[in-house]
Symmetry: C2
Subunit: 254 residues, 2 copies
């Protein structure tokens, strides 16, 4: 029999406030919805609620932009306080133009505004940063779910990224635990015995993309359960999404 | 009730030979497997079988490389005949290095070797090109499925692409019909009434990525049915995956 992937959002997750216990909230909401979480379930969690739990919200009035940030803010037509946060979170600015600020974060993610955004926040004058280490977040949430459920599901922390050359955003895994981030099939053979070339699948990114298809973007469906990915699930936490970050020296495209 | 995405490969698809009727083969295999295809089903088809049906196989002995191709072959450590095919299919070479040849195809896809590959082919000395116009392929297959099934499902032609900055490949839609390639949510509001920024989801790419998670890479499971994406399905063929290609002048990243 072939594989069968099923992805469904967990309804009824409460609004997460800084310092809440997100794992407990997920376990409760899934139980209340009659959606069992087991060791072969992949729990895909939108970055925003993880950041909220981890107190990664910043009141913009507390940010004093440096002259560098002010200059970049003029160049990009952005709020200088947000630009300051982007600079604080980044190791490199990839591209700056009116309306555009692409950065490489300290964990190697290349995305708009270093992943900082301002939607779905409790107050207007606020910004949400990415988790400091989303792999650590995934491991922690996996541990929290194991405590409450008895078995450790796989956990993916996802975010929506734009891409070069292609319009639109797709969700990718910025953190994961208990899931192979990359599925390396090099050395295996095709149906006629020829060795497959360059076949490393970014399984964790694909799981994040699949989950996004069923999640409403209103911010009320932050958690999606994906089943049927047992072949990518691992008992150990594994290397996390950090393994997906392409070493800069090896970038084949740029 | 929330959405529910289900993705399953269609078992028993026969090996597709040049000139075969792929739509008929898909309809038969799905019927034999008891997998109904209806107007809300997204039929995700791996590019390779579409190319085979469309006679996009080239015997390498028929290719005579130009001096330019020979030079590029030395630089990239590749077969000069394959490099010649890459040049023929491309409007621009993005990157050439030992083992690496990234090109922009005539339809605007940026990928390794202009999408040409040599796995899962009937003979050793052969290469498979991308469909000339994968959106036209998707429309044609959609029409063929409508004839056999009575209602037109959505069709995605998918291929595995590498990405800048991130390791591993994910599947993307190189062609589609009956599916919104981009889901534009700009102007809609988040849960607290703030306008969502930059939220155009590349729905067709995400559908392709989800399908790849359940497809074996042996080449024997070229077709995956994805259900639960009614919100992206359209009665008309629509603009196709060409709409996902970012106009070069607008590339924010590079």
């Amino acid at each position: 029999m072939g594989l069968r992937l099923v992805a469904e959002p967990v309804p009824g997750l409460p609004e997460i406030e800084p310092g809440d216990d997100l794992a407990a909230a997920i376990a409760s909401a899934a139980a209340a919805a009659g959606m069992p979480i087991d060791a072969e379930t992949v729990v895909v969690i939108a970055q925003k609620v993880v950041s909220k739990e981890e107190r990664r919200l910043v009141a913009l009035e507390t940010v004093t932009p440096t002259p560098d940030a002010r200059e970049l803010a003029i160049q990009t037509d952005k709020d200088p306080r947000v630009v300051q946060l982007v600079l604080d979170e980044s190791e490199e600015i990839i591209r700056a133009a009116p309306g555009v600020l692409i950065a490489r974060t300290r964990t190697g993610l290349v995305c708009a505004n270093a992943g900082i955004d301002r939607s779905n926040l409790p107050a207007d004058d606020m910004a949400c940063l990415l988790p400091t280490d989303a792999d650590a977040s995934a491991r922690r949430l996996r541990g929290g779910l194991r405590e409450r459920i008895g078995s450790p599901p796989a956990v993916v922390v996802s975010d929506s990224f734009g891409r070069p050359w292609r319009l639109g955003q797709v969700d990718v895994a910025i953190g994961c635990a208990g899931l192979a981030p990359l599925d390396d099939r090099r050395g295996s053979v095709d149906a006629v015995g020829r060795e497959l070339s360059a076949t490393i699948d970014a399984a964790a990114d694909a799981a994040a993309a699949a989950a996004a298809l069923v999640r409403s973007k209103s911010g009320r469906e932050a958690v999606v359960l994906v089943r049927g990915l047992a072949r990518y699930v691992t008992p150990e936490d594994g290397p996390g999404a950090a393994a997906i970050v392409r070493p800069r020296a090896e970038d084949l495209f740029l």
